[in-house]
Amino acid sequence: MKFSVMISEGPYTHQASDTAYNFTKAALEDGHECFRIFFYHDGVNNGTRLASPPQDDRNIVNRWSALAKEHKLDLVLCVAAAQRRGIADADEAKRNGKNADNIAPGFRISGLGQLIEAGIQSDRLITFGD
């Protein structure tokens, strides 16, 4: 089955990203295909490489980056949500006159159309959040 995931909560505050990660990993190991992981609302905070959680805790951002590399996942941060919350890649930083970017490896920033497309192209779209 081809699935996509929407994550609508930030890391650590909420379990959404953890559960989505475990779900995605299990589904991929089970032979399913992941079309896209879309991060919306505070979910875009899962894509900052500046997160530095304590060493004895899981690193949610790095875990997504590693899973993306292993399975060629398409991790998309919503551009409008990311702009509001200060998540930027080099292009976005330049466009908005910021002196730094903070996007983590394996993530990209794009529009909400990517979420709608995920709904159209996937057999199932699963939301993790409140």
Binding site: Y40, A80, L112, I116, E117, I120, T127
Partner: protein
Amino acid sequence: MSETKKFLYVNRKAPYGTIYALEALEVVLIGAAFEQDVSLAFLDDGVYQITKGQDTKDLGMKNFSPTYKALGDYDVNKIYVEQESLDARGLTLDDLLPLTWEDEDDDWAEKDSIKVISATEMAKIMEQSDVVFSF
């Protein structure tokens, strides 16, 4: 993309206090360009999103409720409101924004977009949908 799916956007939260309602509306507006079969549902505190007379002046936040009136122009004209949620909050259809659309197959007659339905009927609509977004 030739495939058409039934999209249902479920709005469950109050318009202010959290950003979910505003960002949900942004998804609906973008999604409208994809020529899918779109429906909106308002239930729980989500019914407050489409109440009349919202005044956010003292909140320092933008009152985005006028945007819902534009949905008809985006061919988003199936708006379901749960009766039980209205009842629980002492609201009636008269408290809601008059959301309408123009039917091009009926000489552009202005028609109501809002349909108040029971929780049981809402469950059926959810079941019949291909893609359900819950905000």
